[in-house]
Symmetry: C2
Subunit: 601 residues, 2 copies
C-alpha cells in the first residue's frame, strides 16, 4: 500500500495548529471528543486503504460511461457506496433530529479528505448526496424531509445538484427549465441539465435531483428561479415509480473518469414531477446557502489530490538512483555509485514545493471549515466575525488548491521524468484528475470575481479587516520566537502591500468603473491566495516551534523541523510572486477591456 496522505500531519493540523478541540465545548458538538474523532478517522483510513485506494487506477482505466440509456460505473461502487453511508460520510454533519451525528464540518472534511486522497472518484457521490439532503433538511417541509432525507443519509439513495443548462453555463439567470403547477401540489418539470455529477448509476435505488427551474410566469433573471426536489423514481405509497427523468448521455472526461458526469432530460414525456423546496423564486438563494459547502468540498479535492501526488513522487524520489551530486570542483565523481534523486537540489525544490502547496492548502481547508463551524455555534459579534471570515476564505480555498495544486502535481510528475508521463505510473492520473477543480462549482474566474467584487468589499471591507486581525495574531505569536521573526515581518509587509493593492483597485469601483475594477480579479486571487497561504504556513511553523521549545511533542523532532523548513521555503519561493502580481495589477494600462476594434486575432 503506497502512502497517499499522512495521518500524523492531519492530526497535527487539526489538533495542534487549529486546536479543533475548542469546538467540543459548544453544546452542538459536546458528544464528540478527540478520542472519538480519532476512532472515526481510523475507520475511514481503514476503509480507504482496503476499498478505495485499490480500485483507484482501475476506475480511471475503466471509466464510467453511458450505455443504452444507462450509466455504467465501476462495479466496486456496489460495495463502496453503502459503506460510505454506514461509516457516516453522508450523515456526520447533520442534526440529530435528521438522523445525523452533529459532527463539526472541520472533522467531517478531514475524514472526507482521507477518502479523497485514496480515490478522488468516490467522495463526490456521498458528498453530493449530503449536499442535496442538506437542502431538503434545511428548506423542505416535514413531509419532504421524511420522504427523502433518511434514505439519503444511508446513501441508499443518491443526490445531485442540477444547475447547468447547455445554453446558460455559469450564467444561471439564463436557465430555461420550466415548472408548471399541477393539481396534486407538485409541478411538472421540463428541461435539460448538463454536467450532472453522480446523475445516474445502478448502485443507488433512487437518485434525488435538486433542480433549478422557473415556475411559469416567474420574473426574468435569477429572481425567478425556484428549487425543486425531482426524484428519478417518485414515491407512490410503498413503491417507486418512474418519474420521466431520462439519462440522455454522459460526458467523457480527461480525468476523474470514475466519477460519472451525466446529461439529464426532465419531462420528455410530460410526466416528470417535482416538489417545490421552500418558497417560490428563492431557489438560487437556497442553492447559494449551500454553495460554500460545495466550494469547500472542491477545495478539499484539490488538497487531497496534491497530497496524494506529493507522496507518490516522494516515494519515487526516495527509491530512484540517478546521476551524482556536484562536487566542489564542479564535476561529478564517477567512481561513486548513482545517488537517489531526492538528493538533487532541483528535485528537492520540487518536493518542497509540493509539500508547501499540499500541506499549506490542508491548513487553509481546516481553517475555513473551522470558521464555518464557529459561525454555526457562536452568537452575536462572534457569529458575524466567523461568517465574514468563512465568506472571505471560501473562494480562496476553492481556488488555491485547484490552481496551485495543478502546479504542484505537475512538479510531482516532473520528478518521475519520462515515467511521469506514462500510464503505468499514477502521477499522470493525478495530473488529469486535478484539472477539473478549477472548473467545478464556479471557475477560477468566477471565484475571483466573488472574492474581489463581493467578499473584499462587503460591509466596507469588514472581512479584510477581520482577516488582518487573524493574521496579526499569528504574527504576534510567531514574534515570540527569534527564528520566526523574519517571516512574521515578511507577512506583515505582505499585508501592507495588500492594503495598497485593494485601495488601488477599489478606486475604480468608486468611480463606477466596474469592469476595470474586476478585470484583474484573477490576479488578485493569485496574489491574495499566496499571502493567505503564507499566513497558514507561519501558523504551522509557529505551532511546530512551540512544540520544539516546550518539548511537548506529539510528533518527531524531524516532523516539526520539517514544518519550519517548509514555511521558510514558502516565504523564499512563493511569497515573492506577489511583487510581480502587485505590479501588474497597479499598472495603469488597460489592455483587457473590449475595444471598438477587435485585436484578438
Amino acid at each position: 500500500m503506497a502512502k497517499y496522505m499522512s495521518m500524523e500531519h492531519l492530526r497535527y493540523v487539526l489538533f495542534d495548529v487549529m486546536e479543533g478541540e475548542q469546538l467540543f465545548k459548544f453544546e452542538r458538538f459536546q458528544d464528540h471528543d478527540k478520542d472519538s474523532m480519532n476512532i472515526f478517522f481510523d475507520s475511514i483510513k481503514d476503509f480507504s486503504d482496503q476499498e478505495l485506494y485499490p480500485c483507484f487506477r482501475e476506475m480511471d482505466e475503466q471509466p464510467a460511461h453511458y450505455d443504452n440509456g444507462k450509466i455504467v460505473v465501476h462495479p466496486a461502487l456496489e460495495k463502496i457506496l453503502p459503506q460510505t453511508g454506514e461509516l457516516g460520510l453522508v450523515a456526520a454533519p447533520f442534526d440529530y433530529e435528521d438522523g445525523g451525528l452533529q459532527m463539526p464540518l472541520t472533522f467531517h472534511t478531514a475524514a472526507m479528505f482521507i477518502a479523497e486522497a485514496a480515490n478522488n472518484n468516490v467522495p463526490g457521490y456521498p458528498g453530493l448526496t449530503g449536499g442535496a439532503a442538506n437542502l431538503i433538511a434545511t428548506f423542505g417541509s416535514k413531509v419532504l424531509k421524511e420522504q427523502y432525507v433518511p434514505n439519503m443519509l444511508t446513501q441508499e439513495w443518491g443526490g445531485t445538484m442540477c444547475l447547468t443548462e447547455p445554453q446558460a453555463g455559469s450564467s444561471l439567470s439564463d436557465i430555461t427549465t420550466t415548472a408548471t403547477p399541477s393539481e396534486n401540489g407538485s409541478y411538472k418539470i421540463k428541461g435539460q441539465k448538463i454536467f450532472i455529477s453522480g446523475g445516474d448509476h445502478e448502485y443507488s435505488s433512487n437518485i434525488i435531483h435538486l433542480v433549478l427551474a422557473r415556475i411559469d410566469g416567474a420574473p426574468a433573471g435569477t429572481k425567478g428561479i425556484s428549487l425543486f426536489v425531482v426524484p428519478k423514481k417518485r414515491i407512490n405509497g410503498d413503491t417507486l415509480e418512474n418519474n420521466d427523468v431520462l439519462t440522455a448521455g454522459d460526458f467523457q472526461k480527461m480525468g476523474q473518469r470514475g466519477y460519472c458526469t451525466t446529461h439529464l432530460v426532465f419531462g420528455e414525456n410530460d410526466d416528470c414531477q417535482g416538489w417545490l423546496l421552500g418558497e417560490a423564486n428563492f431557489g438560487l438563494k437556497y442553492m447559494f446557502q449551500m454553495m460554500n459547502g460545495a466550494r469547500i468540498a472542491v477545495g478539499r479535492s484539490g488538497v487531497a489530490i496534491s497530497t496524494a501526488a506529493y507522496y507518490a513522487s516522494l516515494q519515487y524520489a526516495n527509491e530512484r538512483p540517478q546521476g551524482r551530486r556536484l562536487t566542489n570542483t564542479g564535476q561529478k565523481d564517477l567512481s561513486q555509485g548513482q545517488t537517489l534523486i531526492i538528493n538533487h537540489p532541483d528535485v528537492r525544490r520540487m518536493l518542497f514545493l509540493q509539500k508547501a502547496v499540499a500541506e499549506g492548502s490542508l491548513a487553509l481547508m481546516l481553517q475555513t471549515a473551522l470558521y464555518h463551524d464557529l459561525h454555526m455555534v457562536s452568537e452575536g459579534a462572534e457569529k458575524e466575525k466567523y461568517y465574514f471570515l468563512e465568506e472571505l476564505l471560501t473562494p480562496i480555498l476553492k481556488t488555491y488548491p485547484a490552481e496551485m495544486g495543478q502546479t504542484s502535481v505537475s512538479n510531482g510528475l516532473q520528478i518521475l521524468g519520462g515515467y511521469g508521463f506514462c500510464s503505468e505510473f499514477v502521477l499522470q492520473q493525478y495530473h488529469r484528475d486535478i484539472r477539473i477543480m478549477s472548473l467545478y462549482e464556479g471557475t477560477t474566474g468566477i471565484q475571483s470575481l466573488d472574492l474581489l467584487g463581493r467578499k473584499v468589499t462587503m460591509k466596507g471591507g469588514k472581512a479584510m479587516m477581520l482577516i488582518g486581525q487573524e493574521m496579526g495574531a499569528t504574527i504576534n505569536e510567531a514574534n515570540t520566537y527569534d527564528e520566526l521573526k523574519p517571516y512574521a515581518k515578511k507577512l506583515s509587509e505582505q499585508m501592507h502591500l495588500t492594503t495598497k493593492v485593494v485601495g488601488f483597485l477599489t478606486g475604480f469601483a468608486q468611480k463606477g468603473e466596474f469592469e476595470r475594477f474586476l478585470s484583474d480579479a484573477t490576479l488578485f486571487m493569485d496574489f491574495f491566495g499566496t499571502i493567505v497561504l503564507g499566513w497558514q504556513w507561519l501558523k504551522l511553523a509557529t505551532a511546530a516551534k512551540k512544540a520544539l521549545v516546550t518539548g511537548d511533542k506529539t510528533q518527531t523532532e524531524e516532523f516539526f523541523e520539517s514544518q519550519i523548513h517548509t514555511m521558510k521555503f514558502f516565504f523564499k519561493y512563493e511569497i515573492p510572486k506577489t511583487a510581480g502580481l502587485a505590479q501588474s495589477m497597479m499598472d495603469t494600462e488597460v489592455l483587457t477591456l473590449k475595444e471598438e476594434k477587435e485585436l484578438i486575432l
Copy 2:
C-alpha cells in the same frame, strides 16, 4: 476545417520581423527565394489540412500500441509517412550531395511547425528520421551514407535515437549497452533501450537506430560511449534480413498517443550487428552535436501545440454566448441578450496570454533557427557570434514553449469551462499532449543546468554579452517610436536586473559552491526565458509599428495593432514576474541542498 495556425503570422515573423530572406544571399541557400519558400509552405499547409488535421483526434482515441511483438500505429500513417518524404520534410535541410535541398533550418522549422500544429503525433517520425540520417551523413563513412541515407530521406526507412536505458535515465554516463567487435568489422550489440520514439511500426520497411553503447574495455563514464548504426533489418546484398532487434513493449502515455514510444531489446539472440559511426568513444560528442536540432524541434512542438490550442479556444470564445458585461452601475442588464464570452475581460486576458506565449515563442523559435543558419554559413567572428547565440537560446527555446506552453494551453482549456475538460472538445488533448515537452530531450531541470551552468558562463559570459547586444539593437530601433519607448525602457531595466542576478549566482561558482550556484537554475530559466520573450515581443511590435508608420503593409492594420497590443500585454502581465524570481534567487537562505537530517517527510 478549424484554424490551427496562422499562415499570415508565420510569414510576418519569417519575412518582416526576422528578415529571413537575408539567408538567400549566402551561397549555400542561393537557390531558394521567398516565392519558392511560400510555395513550399503552401504545399505543407495543404498536406496538413487534408491529411494531418483530419486524423488528429482519432490518433489520440486509437493510440499506438504494442500487440504481440509489434507496434500498431494509426492506419492513416501508411499514406502520410511517404508523403512527408515526398514533400521534403526529411530531406529539406540536407546537402545537395546527400540528396537534400539545402534549405535553411529556419524555413524547414517553419514548415514542420505548420504540420505539427495540425497534428503533433506525426512530425516526430520524419523529424527523428532526419536527425538519425543527419548523424550518418555527418559522421558516417561513404559506405554507411550510401547504404542508409537515401532511403531515410524519402522516409521509406525510419530512424531513431537510442539513448535512454532503464537504469540510467538522463544519466548517460551510466549506460551499459555493449558493443563487441566481430570479424566482419561490425560490432555485436547487446542491451536495452527505453522511451524510443518511433521505434517500431509497420509503415517503414526498415528502421535505422542510432544507438549509444560501450565498446568492450572502453573507459567509464561518458568518455567511453560510442555511437552505432543498428538497423532493424540489416542489408544483405539486395535483401533485408532480421538483425535481432526485438520490440519488447511500448509505453502508453497520457498524451501524444498517436506517436509510438517503444522499448527495444538489442541482441537477445546474440545476433544484432551494429556499425560504428565515426570514431570509437566519441559517441556522446556526436550525439550532442545533433542535440541542438532535437531541442529546437521540441521547442517547435511546444509552439505548435500552444498555437493550435490558442486558435481552438479563440474560436470557442467567438461563438459561445454567456453572461453579460458589467455596466457602470456594477450590475448586469438582463434585458440584453447574452454576450459572447470573448467580451469578458478575464476571457480576453486568457486569450491575450495564449497569443503572447504562442506568437512570442514562434518568434523565439525562428530567431534561434536563424542563428543556427547564420552560424552555419558565416565565417570568422560572425560565425562564432551566431554559435554563441544559438547555444544560449537553444535551452530556452526547448523550455519556454514547453513550460509556458502548458500554462497557455491550460488557459485555453479554462476558456471552455466544463467543456474544456470533456473529451468531445480538443483542448484537453492539447493539454495532455504538451505535457511531454518539458520531459523530452532533457527535462526542464537539465536544460536549466545547461543554461546557467554552461551557456551563461561559457567563455567568460560571451554569449550573455552577445545577447545583450542583440537586445540593445532591438531597444534602439524601438526607441525611434514614441509609443514603444516605455517598453524599450522596461526591457533595458530587465537586462540590468539580469546582470545583477547572474553576478550574484556566479559568485557561488567562483567560491567553488557549485551545488549552490546551480540549485535555483530552474528559476533562472523562468526568469531569463521571460526576458528573452520580452525582447522578441518588442521586436514583433517594432516591426509592426514600422509597417503602420511607413504604410508598407503586408497585413491588415488590425494585425499590426494587435501585435503592438499583445507586446504591451506581455510587458504588463508577464515581465513583472521577474521581480519575484530575482528576489527568490538572490535570497541568501539555502533550503534545497541536502542536509544531514532529511526534512522532506
